[in-house]
């Protein structure tokens, strides 16, 4: 392919060297956590950089976490909040994106601008107002509060990406539906929505990671024991029990797993979503 075949292998060698170096740098800290979670206490302190061997392998940390932590409850909180908020973001976001990209009406561009503002202005700056609202409506320490905030946080980006994508859905399909006398709702839910799957994946990954890893809103809106999320739970666990390293490392390893699984499942779709021109 290249005319410069002689420096080709040299180029490749340098590229591989640099990329491999940064890959190791990115993964090493994660590996240190996971590796040491499976070791006995002495081995953690004695040789932190050694992988667990038959002599040092120990599951004491995981046993402690499952025995006396509320981790299953925290995990369920995180999981349900993220799932419901994600569903809401995608459903409401695609409905709004459909309205904005399909119909011409008077306030169309103003409404679009109103939503786009949310990409630039972080919802966090409205915290004093949000807290007041939640106190007034009695939603403090409920998962509902988190779900609502996360939907509001995710909507601008979701509408932006989905509206971009909806312009690629053919008009003929929708008009054929109209000729057949389908209502606008049927057209959207039965014809358009199923076609949005690829865009939904990238919306999902983009909005889900901040929700799952968020610490600010759980700390402020739902710090109670019953509504603690995994992130907040792990933070509290580290705070109160710094000496029990086995449990701390095990807890952190457990909180890495769902994100890792998610990423491995979605990574192809995510990259495709980004490269399909969400940012031009």
């Amino acid at each position: 392919m290249s005319a410069a075949r002689d420096n080709f292998s040299g180029n490749h060698f340098v590229a591989h060297a640099i990329l491999a170096f940064f890959s190791v740098l990115a993964l090493a800290p994660i590996a240190i956590i996971v590796m040491n979670a499976f070791k006995s206490r002495d081995a953690i302190f004695g040789a932190p950089l050694e992988p667990p061997t038959t002599g040092t392998f120990d599951l004491i940390g995981f046993r402690t976490v499952f025995a006396n932590g509320n981790f299953d409850a925290y995990f369920m909180n995180s999981f349900s909040v993220t799932l419901v908020a994600l569903g809401g973001t995608i459903l409401f976001g695609s409905m709004a994106a459909f309205a904005l990209s399909e119909y011409k009406f008077k306030l169309n561009s103003l409404t679009a601008l109103f939503f786009t503002m949310g990409i630039m202005v972080p919802i966090r700056l409205g915290t004093p107002g949000i807290l007041e609202l939640m106190v007034a409506s009695g939603l403090v320490n409920t998962r509902t509060a988190l779900v609502l905030v996360y939907i509001a946080q995710g909507l601008p980006m979701a509408i932006f990406i989905l509206a971009e994508y909806m312009r690629t859905v053919s008009d003929d399909l929708k008009n054929a539906g109209r000729v057949d006398g389908l209502s606008e709702y049927v057209i959207f839910f039965w014809l358009v929505l199923p076609l949005l799957r690829p865009a939904m994946v990238s919306v999902a990954v983009f909005t889900m990671i901040p929700m799952w890893n968020d610490l600010w809103f759980p700390l402020i809106l739902a710090p109670g024991e019953d509504t603690k999320t995994l992130t907040l739970g792990a933070q509290a666990f580290i705070g109160q029990d710094v000496t029990d390293w086995n449990s701390v490392l095990a807890a952190l390893t457990l909180s890495i797993l769902p994100v890792l699984a998610l990423y491995l499942v979605f990574s192809k779709g995510l990259i495709r979503g980004i490269t399909s021109g969400a940012i031009k």
Binding site: A15, I18, I30, I33, F45, G129, Q235, I256, Y263
Partner: protein, 321 residues
């Protein structure tokens, strides 16, 4: 086009006969849920935050304070020192990202898009991985690595005979914020890398082949062909980085605690906002001062973003293929 039957939406004639057309309720219904949630939880709280900044006193007995809160924040010695310190720290924190993360991201993206490179997907996945992790893990693991007691860093430095270079970076006033900046770069470099990589993939092969025919390869090709085409993307990345840096809070909170130690040397606007709103060991929370800090942050971000869009982003040349 058999759309005459369908009353095509929004052409001139249809607009004229608006009165004969049924009201299109479905538009309102499609927009309603998103608009309601977004307005109630994003737009109105933000407006309420601006309003709170102009009042003082307890919740049941508020009085209008005009610009007094802002004057206190910027000039009063109890607050001003903290505010200016946090602002300067936020600017430094952003500078590290600007000078280290963005060039590094572009370099990695350029290497990833070297033609015929094997395992590019593997590298991309590995470098992107830290962006998926929660701050709790990141704060903890780096405290661990850099700790002088258990730390892996001293061991590693000793292995190459540089042990004398080691310092407890997170525990020293002059280094803590810079160390956090580098940790944040480590965490986030994957996102600008993927965005730059996507922009590089969008460069048509013909352009690069034409360059090769003209004998422009390797580094020269990068600086004369790819980089000029990449500037608009780098502009967007810069804005997004700025906005997220000026609102970051979690990394400092998880690594250094709410007091952003040592001695507030790693205090950024996000941690200042949290302490002002909810209080910390030595101070009580104050919703009005918190709202004032949030409003100031909003104004700073707004000014910089608008200035950037107007003076920089608009002047970048975009090439259409």
């Amino acid at each position: 086009m058999a759309t005459a039957i369908l009353q095509p939406v929004g052409n001139g004639q249809a607009q004229a006969s608006q009165s004969t057309r049924p009201v299109r309720w479905h538009i309102a219904i499609f927009l309603a849920p998103a608009l309601t949630i977004y307005t109630l939880l994003m737009a109105l709280p933000l407006a309420e935050t601006f309003r709170l900044a102009f009042f003082r006193g307890a919740a049941h007995d508020r009085e209008y304070a005009g610009l007094a809160n802002f004057r206190v924040l910027i000039l009063d010695e109890r607050w001003a020192a903290q505010f200016w310190n946090a602002l300067a720290n936020s600017i430094w924190f952003f500078s590290i990202h600007l000078l280290v993360m963005i060039p590094l991201a572009v370099l990695l993206a350029a290497l990833l898009s070297v033609r015929g490179l094997r395992a590019a997907g593997l590298y991309r996945t590995a470098i992107f991985m830290p962006t998926m992790l929660s701050f709790v893990i990141i704060g903890f693991v780096w405290k661990l690595i850099l700790s002088p007691l258990w730390g892996v860093a001293p061991t590693l430095l000793a292995a190459v005979g540089l042990e004398s270079l080691f310092q407890p970076w997170l525990g020293k006033e002059q280094y803590a914020l810079t160390a956090l900046g580098f940790i944040s770069v480590w965490q986030y470099v994957g996102i600008p890398m993927v965005l730059s990589y996507a922009a590089m993939l969008a460069i048509p092969a013909e352009v690069l082949e034409a360059a090769e025919v003209d004998g422009i390869t390797g580094l020269a090709q990068f600086f004369r062909i790819r980089l000029p085409l990449l500037w608009p993307t780098i502009g967007v990345i810069t804005i997004l980085t700025f906005v997220s840096n000026f609102n970051s809070f979690e990394l400092v909170y998880t690594a250094q605690g709410v007091l952003a130690g040592p001695n507030f040397s790693s205090d950024i606007l996000g941690t200042l906002l949290y302490r002002t709103l909810f209080g910390a060991q030595l101070q009580l929370g104050d919703p009005h001062m918190g709202a004032t800090v949030a409003t100031m942050m909003f104004l700073i971000v707004l000014m910089v973003v608008c200035g950037f869009l107007f003076f920089v982003q608009r002047k970048l040349v975009r090439y259409q293929f």
